[in-house]
Symmetry: C2
Subunit: 205 residues, 2 copies
Amino acid sequence: MPSSNIPDIVIGRLPIYLRALTRLAAEGREVTSSHELGQRLGISSAQIRKDLSHFGGFGKQGTGYQIAYLIEQLKQVLQVDREWEVALVGAGDLGRAVAHYKGFLYRGFKIVCVFDNDPDKIGEVIDEYTVQPIDDMQQVIPEHGIRMAMIAVPAEAAQEVADRLIEAGIRAILNYAPINLNVPDDVHVQHIDPVVHLQRMTYYL
Amino acid sequence: MPSSNIPDIVIGRLPIYLRALTRLAAEGREVTSSHELGQRLGISSAQIRKDLSHFGGFGKQGTGYQIAYLIEQLKQVLQVDREWEVALVGAGDLGRAVAHYKGFLYRGFKIVCVFDNDPDKIGEVIDEYTVQPIDDMQQVIPEHGIRMAMIAVPAEAAQEVADRLIEAGIRAILNYAPINLNVPDDVHVQHIDPVVHLQRMTYYL
C-alpha cells in the first residue's frame, strides 16, 4: 500500500486523522464526514478529501466515511496495524516521563529497552525497564531487530548517540534533544522541541 | 517588525534557524552561509535565503551571514528578545519533566506557575514551583498577565483546561495531550504528540 508518490506533507497529516477518528470511535460514533473532521482539526474539508483520495475510495460523496473502516485503512497505510519495538536512550527526567507514558501502546509502539551512560542510572528500574549501559546498544538493538529509537539525552550527546543507533540498525529516530541531527538519507528523523513550538507562537502575540 | 504577510510555514522555520545559529555561536563561529545552514538543517540553501529575505537584508551575496546579528534579528522577529511567562497545567510525569527542563530559559520562556487538580499533588514542590489548585488559574493568570500556557494533562481533561485557560486570558497554548484542541481564532495552539511523529516515520520503514 505505501507509495512513494504521496507527498510527505500528506503523510504527516494521516496520524492526525487517525487520532481524531480513533477518538470519534471511542465516543461511539460510526460515521463521520470530511466536514466534521475538518472542524475538529482546523483543516479544510477539501484538504481532507484530497489527502484521503491518495489512498483510494475511503468515502462516498454524501454518505460520509465509515470510521472503523477508515481507521483500519489508515493503520495499514501508516503500517501501525502492527507493533513496533522502540529503543529509548536517556533515563533523565524526560526519558523517565517517556518510559512511563502509556500512550504508545495501542497506537503501534512499545518501548522494549532503555539505555543511559550514567553509572548511577544503569541498573535502575523504571516501570518494567532496567536501564542498560549505552555501550550495550550495539548488541541489544540488532539482537531484537529494533529499527526505531527515541533520543532523550542532552543536546551535546545527541549526535553521537544517533550515530551509534544508526550503526546498530536504527532507521527512524524521534529526537527530543534540542539540536538538529545529521543522518544518512535512508534514516528518518523527527524532532520534538517545545521551545520551537513556543517561539513559533510568540511571533503572533 | 511582525508582518501578517509572512507565510506561517516560514515563521515555523525561523525557530529552527535561530536554534542552529545559536549553536554555531556557541561553537565560537561568527559568520555562516545559507549553504552551511542548509546542510546542518537538511533544508535547501535557496529556501533559507528566501525565508530570510522576508525580513530584509540579513546577508550579502558572497559574504555570508553575521551570526550574532542574525540571531538578534530573528529574536526580534519572533519576539523572543524578551522573557515570556508561561503557566503549566498538569504535574504528572510529563508535567514534572517539563517543569524540571532547563531549556526554556535563555530561549525566551520562564514557567512561573504550575497547576493540577489532584489533591495529592497540590502543595507539592517541584523545583522552585509549588503546585497550585487548578481552580486558582482564573485568578493567578490574569494577576500575572500571563498569555502562554502548556497543557500536560490527560486527553480527556485537555479541552476543558484549554477553555478555562483561554477564559483566564491565555492566547497561546502548547498542548502535550494527544487530542486536538478547539480554540477561538485569536488563540494559537501547537501540539506535541510523540506518537504522531513515530507514525509518520513507520510509513517509510
